[in-house]
Amino acid sequence: MTTLINQNPIIYEASAGNSTREWRESDDNEDSADPIDAQEIFDLIRSISDPEHPLSLEQLNVAQRDHILVSDENSSVLVEFTPTIPHCSMATLIGLCIRVRLLRCLPSRFKVDISVRKGTHQSEHAVNKQLNDKERVAAALENSHLLEVVNQCLATAT
């Protein structure tokens, strides 16, 4: 890539370690049901690499824990992400990476919606529509070149 779309992104401090989740009493109790929460989803996606910077989605503030909505009971997850700049042409790719990561890690009962945080991208509607069209996502993942790019971004996800 010759020119970066966002040459000087703001970098935020990433939390240390694998999980920023606070310890819960139920963590030590193996018998208790362990519902999936926003922190767990955030932990799955925060270390995904940005497609054009050697930085994580957390470091770029693209993914934020407070912008994730989870209902374990209804098996639903909504992830809103914030492109670094409103004309970011990588927005769809970032959303696809988040979707693939969750597709691979979450139990299949979960229905996942991915969208650009309201007001943070000039083609918000088009990006959201594409990211939530399962047929387009399925077709995209059969494109070996695209899948390779996605896998590269996911290689850093822990």
Binding site: D133, A138, A139
Partner: protein, 362 residues
């Protein structure tokens, strides 16, 4: 009230099932999947619809997901539409066993073929694609298919094509949120109407038994029923294009599905509408005339001034199955096409299974 009873769960596909298609006359079904195969299923004994077996697996014809499958009206051929941009035509080789072989490959779309449909007479085949186009093919002798027309008026992916049950009239549903009606004028195909009203992708369409109505299913979580008004209709609905009917929305079903609706099937036998989607539910509706005081029903004066028919039909929810494929999306529902087993419904889902249901009236 009718209810749906599950008769059988057919396992074999190794990825999500995208489409289910009944043979026009026999208790046989073709299904296709992300596993790049088509499976043909047959009731082992037509008197016992709980026992099914996979009698054929069509492999190797496509390099990518097979998105849709459709039988020719005489049941002799099967068409497959794939993400590899091609359409396959398959025939059973009756001399050498019962295997199907690919006898033609239709090329032309730039990328994923999403849906295919044979006209009632079997003389025409329509295909559509993410390349925004609809192609009309003429079926010629010796498995030759000639492209008659490439229709490019949709502004986004075309998700599905469906032929009218008796006329040479085609409907297409699109990611551009519209449905278009296509007609032939001396081998010149043109768009005769564009149906606007859905707020998101229209995933599926199906005609009513007579073909005067059309049901559509959308990512906006609603179903709509559209009715054809001929020039000089007694509702006073204007038909701007000379001699050309118009299609108007006469019912909207909201609040019944709470995620994308991917499939809809209007029974040509008993008139029940089945719909299914990402909320894991199959729902059945009965379309009846709306009461004079139905919400959204316009007075005659309003009809005249707004030139809209308003709500003429009510689609009453008459049955539902929650978690019909467990917690998985349902991508396809299809009613059995004729009287013999008109009460059968097939469904295909992200769980990789195909299910057979029967509507029972207690």
């Amino acid at each position: 009230m009718p209810r749906l009873e599950q008769l059988a769960v057919l396992q074999g596909h190794e990825d999500r099932v995208w489409c289910t298609a009944w043979h026009p006359t026999k208790p046989i079904m073709a299904t296709c999947s992300g596993d790049k195969t088509v499976r043909i299923w047959q009731a082992t004994n037509a008197q016992d619809p709980t026992k099914w077996q996979c009698i054929n697996v069509l492999e190797g014809g496509h390099k990518r997901t097979i998105r849709s499958v459709a039988w020719s009206p005489d049941g002799r051929q099967l068409a497959t539409g794939s993400f590899d941009a091609t359409t396959g035509i398959w025939e059973r080789d009756e001399e050498y066993g019962d295997d199907y072989e690919c006898v033609a490959t239709l090329e032309g779309h730039e990328n994923e073929t999403k849906s295919i449909a044979w006209s009632k007479s079997g003389a025409l085949l329509a295909t559509c694609s993410r390349d925004k186009s609809v192609w009309i093919w003429e079926v010629e002798e010796d498995n030759d298919f000639e492209c008659l027309s490439v229709l490019q008026e949709h502004t986004q992916d075309v998700k599905m094509v469906a032929w009218h049950p008796t006329e040479e009239l085609l409907a297409s549903a699109s990611y551009d949120d519209t449905i278009k009606i296509w007609k032939d004028d001396d081998d010149d195909w043109y768009c005769s109407d564009t149906l606007q009203g859905h707020d998101s992708t229209v995933w599926a369409i199906d005609f009513s038994p007579t073909g005067d109505q059309l049901v559509s299913a959308s990512a906006d979580q609603t179903l709509k029923i559209w009715k054809r008004f001929a020039p000089g209709n007694n509702m006073g609905i204007m038909t701007p294009r000379r001699g050309e009917p118009v299609w108007k929305c006469v019912a909207t079903v909201a609040g019944q599905h709470d995620r994308c609706i991917y499939s809809v099937s209007w029974s040509k036998v008993h008139g029940l509408i089945a719909s299914a989607g990402a909320d894991n539910k199959i729902r059945l509706f009965e379309a009846t005339d709306a009461r004079p005081d139905a919400p959204g029903r316009l007075t005659e004066d309003q009809q005249r001034t707004m030139n809209e028919p308003g709500v003429l039909l009510e689609a009453m929810a008459v049955a539902e199955v929650q978690e019909a494929h467990g917690m998985s999306d349902i991508n396809s529902v299809a009613w059995y096409p004729n009287q013999e087993h008109g009460e059968w419904l097939a469904s295909g889902g992200d769980d990789g299974t195909v299910r057979i249901w029967r509507v029972v009236r207690d």
